[in-house]
């Protein structure tokens, strides 16, 4: 009886969390189909009975979203690849290599974890400007190519791999590249996917850096493009703004839904093994 009651309570809680999570998304999708008059009314329109698909066409026409998509895909793919590769190598080095001042360097890495991105904004801009990379793909990608967070997360995971496995591989004559590729990475798949997703979502949604480092519409990414839909003073068709937001959200949402079971496995794994 009590277990049933607990079960019921759990379901209520789950439903509540579900509403909190899904509610805004539902609101986003329905609002993107509303007539302009239905957006700001009270009582709210819960379901647009007369869906206005032209919001999507309007949003797509308002700015070169095709180009924004391309730019977002290129910079996110390149940025994520570099960041994950970097994180893997850094984590591997911190766990399996012996080198001087390892502790100090790790403390520095942790320190880097604490520095908010805005602090390095100006320094990065100056560097990128000196390199002549303003308004280029490398200008968007390179400053974010290394992340302390990913390296830290992976390191914590690699520490849980039993040293016996590594030693066995070494005894079989495997060098570092082989151990990394054949032993460590396959064992770290959930964590690797977690780090990849976190990095991917971060880069896809990044707003301020791509805005600062690019000048022309041909180099802008999707989140910056969204800004073009919103009229600062005067009339705003929120339906079209929401439709534009759907363009931005849909790809990451899909990736996230496909990969989310790995993420959960990845985030809890360390917790169990300690």
């Amino acid at each position: 009886m009590t277990t049933r009651l607990r079960r019921f309570g759990l379901y209520v809680l789950l439903a509540l969390v579900g509403v909190v999570m899904v509610g805004p998304l539902y609101w986003l999708f329905t609002s993107s189909l509303k007539q302009p008059g239905e957006i700001n009314t009270f009582p709210p329109v819960w379901f647009p009975t007369d869906p206005r698909w032209s919001n999507y066409a309007e949003a797509w026409r308002a700015a070169p979203f095709g180009q924004f998509y391309l730019n977002s895909i290129v910079t996110t793919a390149a940025g994520t690849l570099l960041e994950v590769a970097n994180a893997v190598l850094t984590a591997y080095a911190f766990v399996f290599l012996r080198f001087p001042a390892k502790r100090v360097l790790f403390a520095v890495l942790l320190g880097a974890l604490m520095v908010p991105g805005h602090v390095t904004l100006l320094a990065n801009y100056l560097t990128v400007a000196d390199l002549g990379w303003i308004n280029t793909y490398q200008g968007i990608v390179i400053p974010g190519a290394a992340s302390a967070f990913g390296a830290f997360l992976l390191r914590q995971h690699l520490l849980t791999i039993p040293t016996e496995i590594i030693e066995a591989a070494r005894a079989d004559g495997a060098g570092h590249p082989r151990i990394l590729w054949r032993v460590v990475l396959p064992l770290s798949r959930p964590m690797l996917i977690t780090v990849t997703i976190v990095s991917l979502v971060g880069k896809w949604n990044d707003f301020i850096w791509p805005l600062i480092v690019t000048n022309t519409e041909t180099m802008r990414t999707l989140p910056v493009g969204l800004l073009l839909l919103k009229n600062a003073d005067g009339y705003v068709n929120w339906g079209a703004v929401m439709a534009g937001t759907v363009f931005v959200v849909l790809p990451v949402l899909t990736v996230f839904l496909v990969a989310q079971r790995y993420i959960v496995a990845g985030l809890t794994q360390g917790a169990v093994k300690g």
């Binding site: 904004l121 320094a123 022309t216 005067g234 705003v236």
Partner: protein, 445 residues
């Protein structure tokens, strides 16, 4: 080189390389005063022309209008190509320009808000423009109150472009039902007297409120109220928000909200107005177009109500030329200012965007006269324009003054705190922050 690179040596090299890279960007120095232009793209047919870059903050409808204006400018020119680059909101444009000045890569021309241009003027990064005007084009062509705002020590630094002011709106259907005259109130006290009559009007089973005050950025409208009650945010750089008119205005609004229960603080008064929750609204002239689209009732526009006096602040943007680029680029940049001020161009820009016409001649063009009949509210906004004035210096010059003030207003509107107490602490805050710019302001006035 033949010996295998030991791990220790490799690490040493890497460390050295890292150290060598650190000063990157700090270099450059002040010796070379060359500013490069932000990168972009020039269409082939304009490749041989002098390239000029403008940074702008417009999105949506004004962005289209601005692009068209720049396009017409380029067609009209033989030797100049103006490239318009969108850089985010007014604040983001300013932020990026500050970074650009450090990296020595800046546009030639920039659109600033009534607040952001001051920062660059105080840091001597704007070009004085008086010398660029000539017989064919004089600063007197602009609306006096608007050009006066961008003029310091007899030098023009910032010319009006895309300006707006607050305007008073009322729901004509509700006014008719309540038996009120079809006009805006002459004074705020008159509006208050109308409150009970409006309470008898029912909209969707509820009585509308008389008025609503914005939760955020209320300090712009409140600047008008402070003058209407005979006070000032500041006299010069001396903060006076804690005495006289400002306190009286705050107290009056507090009574309307908390004693009379005729008003309240709203997230967006305009949305509540279009939904019939409030009978009157104070908002930017820029929302006229939105009201035409969103309001399902007839609305009227009027001058801001007076109390002891009339008071209405200006807001919005303006163009400034940067001091850094070489002379010929600055000359070319000024050509766009000249082009945008031509009556037909200034009028078209206003018609496309809803901003107020910033030159006197633009107001007499045929297309503008047609707009006056099509959209009577717009005519009232233009008629009010000569009576407007630039905001008090402390609101424009002191960093984050706007946030301090509207934060104070929130305490009055939402928490029912006495205006005197609120504004005393706001004044203290403002006086402290004013110190950071006092010297720079003194040098420039």
């Amino acid at each position: 080189m033949s010996s295998t690179l030991s791990r220790r040596r490799l690490l040493g090299l890497a460390g050295g390389a890292a150290l060598a890279l650190t000063p990157l960007g700090c270099g450059g120095g002040d010796g070379a005063s060359t500013f490069s232009q932000p990168k972009g793209e020039v269409p082939k047919q304009y490749a041989k022309r002098q390239r000029v870059v403008v940074w702008y903050p417009y999105t949506g409808v004004p962005a289209d209008a601005f692009t068209r204006l720049v396009g017409r400018f380029n067609e009209s020119q033989q030797d100049i190509y103006l490239e318009a680059q969108f850089q985010g909101t007014y604040d983001e444009v300013a932020q990026k320009l500050a970074a650009g000045l450090q990296a020595r890569q800046i546009p030639d021309l920039c659109v600033f808000s009534e607040v952001t241009w001051h920062k660059f003027h105080l840091n001597d990064t704007l070009e004085p423009l008086t010398g660029y005007f000539d017989n064919g084009f004089s600063p007197a062509e602009y609306v006096d109150s608007l050009i006066a705002e961008g003029t310091v020590k007899n030098e023009v630094w910032w010319v009006p472009f895309g300006r707006s002011t607050p305007l008073f709106y009322y729901n004509r259907d509700m006014f008719a039902k309540a038996g009120l005259p079809d006009r805006g109130p002459k004074t705020w006290d008159e509006l208050r007297e109308w409150g009970p009559a409006l309470q008898r009007v029912s909209v969707g089973g509820r009585a509308p409120k008389l008025h609503a005050y914005p939760q955020v950025d209320g300090d712009w409208m409140f600047q008008g109220a402070v003058w209407q009650w005979g006070g000032n945010y500041s006299k010069g750089m001396d903060v006076t928000i804690d005495a006289g008119g400002a306190v009286a205005a705050g107290e009056w609004q507090r009574r309307l909200i908390h004693v009379d229960k005729l008003a309240y603080m709203a997230k967006s008064p305009r949305v509540d107005f279009t939904n019939g929750l409030i009978a009157t609204l104070q908002d930017s002239t820029g929302v006229l177009g939105a009201l035409d689209k969103e309001a399902k009732f007839a609305y009227g526009a009027a001058f801001l109500p007076e109390q002891q006096a009339f008071g209405c602040p200006t807001g919005g943007g303006g163009l400034a030329v940067l001091a850094g680029p070489p002379k010929e680029r600055k000359r070319a940049a000024f050509e766009f200012i000249r082009f945008a001020a031509k009556p037909e161009n200034a009028a078209q820009w206003s018609i496309d965007t809803g901003y107020l016409p910033s030159t006197k001649a633009a107001q007499q063009t045929p297309q503008m006269l047609k707009l006056f009949t099509d959209r009577p509210g717009y005519k009232i906004a233009v008629d009010q324009l000569p009576k407007t004035q630039a905001q008090d210096p402390v609101r424009l010059l002191v960093p984050n003054a706007n946030k301090s003030i509207y934060g104070g207003l929130q305490k009055i509107y939402a928490d029912n705190q006495p205006a005197q107490q609120v504004f005393s602490s706001v004044a203290e805050e403002l006086r402290k922050s004013a110190e950071s710019v006092r010297d720079a302001v003194a040098r420039h006035s």
